[in-house]
Structures are given as structure tokens and as C-alpha cells.
Symmetry: C2
Subunit: 463 residues, 2 copies
């Protein structure tokens, strides 16, 4: 059975390059159940090795040939043609198995492109973390999964019941199929014009013009528009190697700040990213005068949709990196996202479609169609917040302690900050281009300083 | 300082491709010194992390730009521009840390191409092997090092003294520089014609004609000539993923067989490769009627030369996979190599130079210049034997137990068998294309069966 990719999924195929591999990953850290046998992890490995059932997209393989280049298509591989030993990998951390060792291993794993001759995933079960913990680094191609789909998959794999022992390997659970060719809704522009992807993009290109015009005369100083972002060191050419860093805070801390400041959890996330970036760039003497602009993926996935693929649009917000005061920065982020939401809601449906097309693939526009050169980057970085299951989750009794998103980078986008809020934690994954940016770990640490600054400022302001 | 690559080194640059990464590696397994502290490996890691001195070729980086494409040139990087954390990697095996786990990890590490923006090496110190052992997987680009240079490097790094504790990290020891630009001998054809690598190959192309002609009318049935090899499953297109297997025998076993049969150690090596391949291919119903032909790298490195780069020619021998009787096969291999040596020695010096050029890069001829299509492969596989230091060697007291070569594959060459004889062991490294060949591990095991068959036959024949 063949599945034609939707244009928003196919976009990730068009822009795949050695220095720009378009895979995304999650990193989950687990504690074994209390009183677990000493071979708990080994048994898990044995269970995984024996699981030779593959649900979408774990059985999807890119169809070869010329047509596949213009309108990429998935074929479903029969289980006996899937080399599980290749996709499922058992690894270990060297002693002492701390955050440093885990970060180094994940940086390496995330730097390697997927093998396009096979289903586009790898799952690494990593033993040897401190305190008997283990981790799962799971990598898929972005054409198959956005952040929401990733969390949806994890929710299908995990159990809320600490005593449940019937959890299956992620590839046996999977997502709902993208559906066979004849099962689709009305064909999109790209599907109507399979020979000419550029033609399909025309409405989006028109929309660029409007947006760039608007960017020159924003209605409000805090309104962020694509192509209105300042030039920065975050927007150079990238290369193939990645550095990954992680940082986790209790969701309660973020919520307490949000409550006190009367803003959303997402506003607090943007403000600590802004604060972290401000300090990181000031230290290098490279903070732009104008605020950095973030692209914020917005899910357009219907509630309960757990299908393969991408369903995201974008909005743009200022991170207020030009504002020194932590509280003023938080309020600025809050206002900027409010303006962005309003702008998104005001947009007529047909423009919205083009806009999504464009915003989903600023890469398609900038990279694939060579439209870079508006003088300014579309946005300085992507900052992505995906809410997850707030209750504790378990896999065959092992408690999910943290779930970090590890996203992709693109030319002109040398850093990405994403967050999953799951099981009472607010877990940030930072990805940076190893050759373009110094220690991404510092940026991770500085978001913590920015959070503490906010807490201090709020406690003073309310006293 | 810039160093222009010699044509034989540059050849490996021209043919580098994602599915054909031209790196070679060694895998060494060490036992810690008796009574070593529990943090012996950790201390070694700390020593390595602190070693920020880089000898050739560990400080060589490919010069960028157009000229670099035609006549590739190395620049020497200052130490402060080398990202040691990238090149030196501390890894661990999952439990139980056996041959299986080590083979899987090395298969993955060997499948990843080097990063051409950096010095072309990685060194992985792997802890967690059974019985407290550790391993070093060291990978360099073939343009910098052939098997002999690899063993020469190891001999400079290691000590014969079990009590010595002043051994340095391999990158601090290195090899002798290829020399600055002005220091070279008379320019080669490739250097005289920097704009036209094809012109530089003309003598080699002429030599192909002569050799192909000779292949059609060999003087002797056991004389192997390039392009006289049978078609086989070993000679299809390859892909990017590798499987690595290892097998070690005591050198004494190999020597005993050689002595009894009055042949060389290398003849025994060829015969057990031939026996292993015969069983492996018969099992798949894919054994060619005619014997497989092996390309045997021949060192043309002057004694005591420990410089960067390649100094190898090739000769061709039949592995006698068409002969069922183990002793007859061994004698066939012996005769075939004797004929090949004689042919090599008879060759006039100027033809020999072209021949080396051609034989060194059947890839240059076949792959880079698109000359494939003579109907038959140049040879079926490369089988390489590099003698090493026979006395026990130590690194800061840790005894080198095994040293395996892990070689490169090329389009049309889906398997490689190489051997290092070091410290009383005869250690074979097998590399296969994961998508072209089933379990390369079986082939490794079957060489053991072939060795036992030889031992049994010899003991019977002498009784």
C-alpha cells in the first residue's frame, strides 16, 4: 500500500541535506520499578528484540524513483523486510552515567542522519544512567511526526498504571496510518500539480509579499512578523554536527510564576528563553539591539488526532531580549503572543492556508525555492512548547521521570529550544549547531537563571 | 603549512561518497594491568581529555575551495582550533559486554562517515567489556593511513615494557608529516596536471588494457589477473551501513599449519579466507564456478618509514574457492601468490608505476572515471595481511590482547577481510555491506572451520 505525503510532510523531505538532517527525537528518562530485578533492563531489551510487529510510521519506507522526488510517497514494508537489529539499538553510558555523559551520547546520536533506504527511525535504549535509571532516545523523520504526534505516540505507549506490565515497544504501538491513497480528503494544491511543487506554493508566495509589507509597518511595536527579525549569530549557515543540552524544572515552579504574573505557562517559557538568550548573547558581545523573534509552532491538529505526520502552523512572537528587566520581559512576551494570536485569528481562511504552508515551511520558501535574501531572517529561532500528560506515566512499571524534545535545525537556524511538560516536569531540550555556537549547555543553564530572576522579581513585587 | 596530497592518497578523497566512506579503523582490546585501581579507565580518559597536542595526521584538515577538489591539500590546524571533545569519545558497552555487544557498537561506529570540516579521525575509548577489559576503536581516513602505517602508529604508541607509564594518546604521537609543499620529490603526473586528474591517469589506463588482455590468456590456470574474476554477490552496489565481525586465532596455530604444509602464514590466511567464503557462499547457493580472486595489498613502504599516507601496490591471487579439498586449496593459494609475486617482479619499473596507480585505485579507474563495465569485477574482494609487533605490547601497563583491522568497502566490493598479526595473535576483521550480504559473522566463524579442516587434513596426511 502506498501513501502520498501531504505537502506539509513532504516539505521535510525536500529540505533534507547532510548538514540539515530533518529528524526529530525525544529523550525519556526512566526509573525502574521499586524492587525491580537486577536484569530489569536486560528483560526490556529482550522484549524489544522480540517485538517484530511494526505500526505506522515505523513500517513506512520512502518510495524510490523519480516520481518520489516530486511527490514523495511512502510504501509500507512487510515486517520480515524490516531489519529490527538496525533500528533498535541497545547502548550504555560510561561511568558515572550523569547528565554530562548522556548529553554527549545524545549529541552524537542526534548528529547522524537517518538511512533513507529504511524506515526512518531509530530507538536507542540506553542503560547505565546514575541511580539505576535508563533512557530511551527515539528518533524519527520530521515528515512523519511533529511534536504533538510525538507526545500522542508516547501517551499511547505509556500507562497511567504503575502495575501494568503489558506495555509494548513504541514501534508496535505507532500512530494511525496517514491512510491509503484513495482514502484522502480533497487534493491539496501540491497534489493537483504533482509535477510542479512551485506552482502549489504560489498562494504562499503571494502571502509572503503581504507579510513582508506588514513587517515594515507593524501595527504595534511588540507585534512580531516573519522577516522582521534582527540579524544575529543564530542565523548563519549550519553544519552537520549538533550539541544537545537538557534542563528540567518542575511544572509547579513555572505555573507559580505564571499565576503570580497573570500570564500563561507558555509566556513564562518564552520569557525564560528570552532571558537565557539575552545573557548568552551578551556574554559573547552579540546581542542584537532589537528583540529576537521566535517562530512558535501552533498545532492545528484536531483534538484526539493521533495520525502520522505534521499538523502545525506558525506564529511569531518577540522574546524581548532587548528588555533587561525580567518582569517587563515577561509582560512583553505575553503581549507579543497575544498580538500574534489575534493576527492569526483575524486571517481569512484561504490566506490562512497559504500562510500555514509558508510558515510551516519557511524552509520550503527560503531553502528549497531559494527565496532567502530578504535581508533579514524570517525569525531568529524556533521555540516550541508541547503540553503532555500531566499525570505520572509508566512503561511496564518503570516511571517516566523526564521527557525531553530534541528538535531539528536548518540553515539559518542554528539553535532550537523545545519543551515538553509531562508528569509534573517542564523539560527543555536545546539543540545547537556545534560549529556555529559555543557551549549550548550554557544557554540551558541561563534559562534557569532567568527563571530564578523572575521568581525573585515577582516575590519582591508582591511583598 | 600546506601539504599537497600524493596521488595515491588523493585517490581516497576522489572516491569518498556517503555509501562509500573511505575511512579505515583499528580495534584494540586491552586488559588493565594486574591490580589496577578501579578507576583505571577513568584515569585514562582523564589523561586523554587533557592531551591537547596533535601530531600529523591528527592535525590535518582538508583545505577548502575549488583547488582542493582537484588536487586535495591538507592544512595543519593549530591545536586550539581542534575540538578534542569531538574527536575523542568515551563510550561504554551494555551488559554483558561480550563480543556480540562490541561487534554491534563497532558496526555502528564504522558506518558513520568522518566530518570533512575537521581533522579526519575519531578515537573511541570503550569501557564495559567482560573481565574489566576496555577497547579502543580508532578511525582515520584512508588518504592518511594504510594498514602498515596504522601498525607503525600503534608501535609508536605502545610500549614493550609492562611497567612503563609514559605512553601518550595516539594523536599526540602521530606519524611523520607528509612534509611541507616545498619538501617533496619530483611532482607526479597528477601534480603536473592539477586541472586534469584524468590526464594523470593515462599511463594507468594504458596499463589496464595490457592487463585485461593478459587476463584473457593467462599463462597459468592459477594466475589471477585483474578483471579476470568471476561475477559474484560480493560485487554488487554497496550502501552506507556496515556489519563488522572479528575472529582471533593464535599465531602459533597458523604458523603450525604453514610449517607442516611448507607454505607461508599468508598462504594459510588466504586458504582459510577461501574456505570460509566457499562455505558461506555455498550455503546461499551463490558460489561461483570459478575461484574468487582476491586483491592483496602489497606494501611498497621502505623499511622503517612511519610517514602519513599510503604506500601500497596490489597483487592478485586466487582463493581457490572452487577446490573442495582443504589441502589442495592451500596449495593452490600458495601457487597463485607465487605466480603473482613473480609477475610483479618481472614488471618494468615504469609499467609498475602505472600498475600501482591503477591497482591502488581500481576505484579511481572503476568508480571515479566510470570505467566499470569490463563485464567482470577487477577482483572479488580485498584480503589484506599486515604483520605487526610479535612481542607483547602495553599501553600504560594495560596489555594489548587483540588488534583488529577494520577496513573500508567500495562499490563493487561488499566485503573485506583484513588481518593483523600482533602479540602472538592472528586477528581477523571482517567488514560487510549490511544491505548486500547476510550475517558477516557467519563468514567469520567459517574461517575457523576452514582452519580446523586444514589442521585435521594435515595431521591425517602426516600420520
Amino acid at each position: 500500500m502506498s501513501i502520498v505525503m501531504k505537502p506539509n510532510d513532504a516539505a521535510w523531505m525536500f529540505i533534507e541535506k547532510p548538514e540539515q538532517p530533518c529528524h526529530v527525537a525525544s529523550l525519556s528518562v526512566f526509573s525502574p520499578p521499586p524492587g525491580a530485578a537486577s536484569d530489569y533492563v536486560r528483560q526490556l531489551v529482550a522484549q524489544f528484540e522480540a517485538t517484530r510487529v511494526f505500526a505506522p510510521p515505523f513500517n513506512y519506507v520512502l518510495r524510490r524513483g523519480v516520481r518520489g522526488k516530486l511527490v514523495p510517497t511512502w510504501d509500507e514494508l512487510p515486517a520480515d523486510q524490516i531489519d529490527l537489529e538496525y533500528h533498535f539499538r541497545h547502548s550504555a553510558l560510561p561511568a558515572p552515567g550523569g547528565e554530562l555523559e548522556l548529553g554527549k551520547l545524545v549529541s552524537r546520536l542526534h548528529s547522524h542522519a537517518l538511512d533513507f533506504r529504511r524506515p526512518l527511525w531509530e530507538l536507542h535504549l540506553i542503560e547505565g544512567l546514575e541511580h539505576g535509571r535508563f533512557a530511551i532516545y527515539m528518533k524519527l523523520h520530521h515528515s512523519q511526526m511533529d511534536g504533538m504526534a510525538g507526545v500522542a505516540l508516547w501517551n499511547r505507549v505509556m500507562s497511567l498504571d504503575a502495575d501494568a506490565r503489558n506495555c509494548q515497544a513504541p514501534w508496535a504501538v505507532g500512530l494511525k496510518s496517514s491512510g491509503p491513497k484513495n482514502d484522502r480528503q480533497k487534493p491539496s494544491q501540491a497534489e493537483k500539480n504533482p509535477g510542479n511543487p512551485a506552482a502549489a506554493m504560489l498562494p504562499a508566495l503571494q502571502a509572503i509579499g503581504d507579510l513582508v509589507k506588514a513587517a515594515k509597518n507593524p501595527e504595534h511595536p511588540l507585534q512580531a512578523m516573519p522577516y522582521g527579525a534582527p540579524r544575529s549569530v543564530l542565523n548563519g549557515r549550519i553544519h552537520g554536527q549538533r550539541r544537545v543540552a537538557t534542563q528540567t524544572y518542575t511544572l509547579a515552579r513555572i505555573q507559580a510564576v505564571a499565576r503570580k504574573a497573570e500570564v500563561s505557562v507558555n509566556d513564562v517559557f518564552l520569557a525564560i528563553c528570552g532571558g537565557g538568550l539575552r545573557r548568552y548573547l551578551m556574554e559573547q558581545g552579540k546581542l542584537p539591539l532589537a528583540s529576537l523573534t521566535a517562530g512558535l509552532p501552533v498545532s492545528v491538529r484536531p483534538a484526539g488526532d493521533v495520525s502520522v505526520g505534521n499538523a502545525i502552523s506558525f506564529m511569531f512572537a518577540k522574546l524581548c531580549t532587548d528588555i533587561a528587566d525580567p518582569l517587563a520581559r515577561l509582560r512583553g512576551c505575553h503581549e507579543s503572543t497575544a498580538l500574534a494570536k489575534e493576527h492569526l485569528q483575524r486571517m481569512p481562511k484561504d490566506v490562512m492556508e497559504s500562510y500555514t504552508m509558508l510558515a510551516m515551511g519557511p524552509y520550503l520558501a527560503q531553502v528549497a525555492l531559494g527565496l532567502a535574501g530578504f535581508g533579514r531572517p524570517s525569525h531568529n529561532l524556533i521555540v516550541s512548547n508541547v503540553p503532555g500528560e500531566r499525570r505520572p506515566q509508566y512503561f511496564n512499571g518503570a516511571r517516566l521521570e523526564q521527557l525531553y524534545p530534541i528538535s531539528a535545525l536548518f540553515n539559518g537556524q542554528a539553535v532550537n529550544i523545545s519543551v515538553f511538560s509531562c508528569g509534573g516536569n517542564f523539560s527543555l531540550g536545546f539543540v545547537g549547531c556545534r560549529d556555529s555556537l559555543p557551549s549550548i549547555q550554557k544557554l540551558a543553564v541561563y534559562t534557569g537563571a532567568a527563571l530564578s530572576d523572575l521568581e525573585a522579581a515577582l516575590s519582591t513585587s508582591r511583598e
